[in-house]
Amino acid sequence: MYCSIIPPYILKRVAAQDAPQFSAAARAAKEALLHVKSVQAARAQPSPGLPPGVRHVKAGPPQRTVYDAQEAEILPGNVVRKEGEPATGDPAADEAYDGLGHTHRLYADVFGRNSIDAQGLPLDATVHFGKLYDNAFWDGSQMVFGDGDGEIFQRFTLSLSVIGHELAHGVTQHSAGLAYRNQAGAINESLSDVFGALVEQFVAQQTAAEASWLIGEGLFTSQVEGSALRSMKAPGTAYDDDVLGKDPQPDSMDSYVRTSADNGGVHINSGIPNRAFYLVASSLGGYAWDSPGRIWYDALTSGSLKADTTFRAFAKVTLASAEELFGAASKEHDAVKLAWETVKVKL
């Protein structure tokens, strides 16, 4: 496998040198650029004989453990299912077990990542947390799922995108130190929605055009007027209910929400980068975990995201990733640029 420590933009500058003293360097840079382009072309193509997006990288098998908190708020609870053990018959425990496996497989097969920390971290989840607890969260080391209050929410393991969302918080924690507040927090949330949606689409083998782009579809009870928690395709349209109100997510910077609630609106303004990702996937077509997923994953793991990363800074990192992976003249690069322009994030 060819690896270059020199980024393509520097190679281009060296290759463009006309002065005689740079001729050898310019020739070498041109050769390296040709090689980079061939690698970029190869990266853009799925490997023959493998499902789309699957890469030749070996990650270890998942090491799953599901616990039952028995309606207490004490973690982790009692072990109910370990790796390789048969189904328990408890839907919440078995959905969590399966969801952990599906999520592990996306990262392993598509992104070549060995679990949440890229080093084979065991995957732990607790179900039946609290009484009528209507939430799911990542506590820094494991996933936690409530049963819902039965009035607004059903159990949170019902949605694979929610399971993928929670595990993605772990990936972000181990890949980028994004603060959980304001725009950095909204990027953190959006990354969880993006990879949560990708898990669901990967399992269903749905293209960008076929996917619902809904996060938490099926979580609401029949009493609620709404289809999901969020819509990446059309932020602000997931629900409109007389008790819950209307989905508050903005779909561009024109309607950015300034609030002190929700850690500065991290689940609200995430609609803006969510839509940017959808627009990239929609524009490129095919499977969203391919080129769009690669670009976002590369941005997340690039080491370029600071704790207080803004939407603008994140957009620039995704654009740099698109250029690095596919080239500055690629349709992928153009799609990323257009997506951020559409949601009014200045590059």
Partner: protein, 101 residues
């Protein structure tokens, strides 16, 4: 005296609010000890240990008379938890009495 608990955040980011009014002497004698038990002057800062929030956990804004506090879910323990749970239960009981969802 009005006691209000606002819960924001969570993966669903649905803001819920529960309020009760302590008007009668009997109400006040029930709620004032719950309020007085909370350490209003020792609220953890955002970046202090225990003050930060974990992804997708709730944030609570609590108001009781002149008192104000904003706390991450994992800091809502002890007297805070008792005040929050009692406020929510009383508000929901009143709501159910009115036949509202």
């Amino acid at each position: 005296m009005k006691i209000t608990v606002q819960r924001s955040g969570g993966i669903a980011a649905l803001t819920r609010e529960w309020s009760v009014k302590a008007v009668t002497p009997a109400d006040k004698s029930r709620w004032e000890p719950l309020i007085a038990a909370c350490p209003w002057d020792a609220i953890p800062g955002r970046d202090e240990d225990g003050g930060g929030n974990q992804p997708d956990r709730f944030m609570y804004s609590i108001r009781a008379g002149q008192h104000r506090a904003t706390l991450p879910e994992r800091a809502v323990t002890g007297p805070w938890r008792i005040l929050v749970d009692n406020t929510r239960a009383a508000a929901e009981a009143a709501r159910n009495k009115d036949g509202r969802r």
